[in-house]
Amino acid sequence: MKLKKVLIYAAIACCNGTGDVMLKRGMQDLGPIALSNWTHVFSAVMNPWVMLGILFLGGFFYAYLTALSWADLTFVLPATAFGYVVTALLSAYFLHETVSLWRWAGVLMITCGVGLVSGGPSLTEPRRSDSLTGAEDPA
């Protein structure tokens, strides 16, 4: 169970962060989208970087669905936030965007938040009143 939590957290974070950076890289090739010509955004899916990004985000989605099938949304969400740490790292080294000291402080805080929530219970226990009134409860 512990290993399952760690693996699903890692898969969610890595696929989400990498996917976003691939999308941004693809959108750099396309240039800004004008509001008057917004359907141009659909042609983005033909760009190889955007395709790769979609592939990564597909992997993220499967991991995310699996996690949500046995864990609370508020347990899984910090894992998706950890993806933005991956985005910050890749933005710095791959897209050459400037990452200031403040951003690194942000990275540290997100990491602490994820560490905190992942140490706790993953699913809300049904409350006593719920199980007493719940029609689906076999007991």
């Binding site: 800004p32 669905l65 899984v76």
Partner: protein, 126 residues
């Protein structure tokens, strides 16, 4: 004007993805453990089961809308601003919706974690 345009796109991403997340969580709880289902019946059964769930399909529509709004926002601003800004707001919005609509037990540990992640994500946008 360009800033307003960018934040409107971010707002659209936030609302669509929070509602999508909550509906998705609701649908997946009803479907049950995907790992278990896959090991018993195979991947095809998982896909059929998930794709035939109405709540899942509505959630998917919300998430697809938020995806294209995100693509648009990414073309207008830096990935290291757009991605964290929409994430931070989605995070708060989804946590509140999860507490009131999914009745999740958001205890002190989770609120502190939520606070840390939100401040952290806001710092990323500096």
């Amino acid at each position: 004007m360009n800033d307003l345009r960018l934040w409107l796109a971010i707002g659209a991403v936030v609302i669509a993805s929070s509602v999508g997340d909550v509906l998705l969580s609701k649908a997946m709880k009803r479907i049950g453990d995907l790992d278990e289902l896959r090991s018993k019946r195979g991947l095809l059964a998982v896909i059929t089961r998930v794709a035939s769930n109405k709540t899942f399909l509505v959630a998917l529509a919300c998430l697809i809308f938020s995806f294209f709004a995100l693509l648009t926002a990414l073309s207008w601003g830096d990935a290291s601003l757009v991605a964290p800004a929409s994430a931070s707001l989605t995070f708060i919005c989804s946590a509140i919706l999860a507490k009131y609509f999914l009745h999740e037990n958001v205890d002190r540990r989770r609120w502190i974690a939520a606070g840390l992640v939100c401040v952290g994500v806001a710092l990323l946008a500096q």
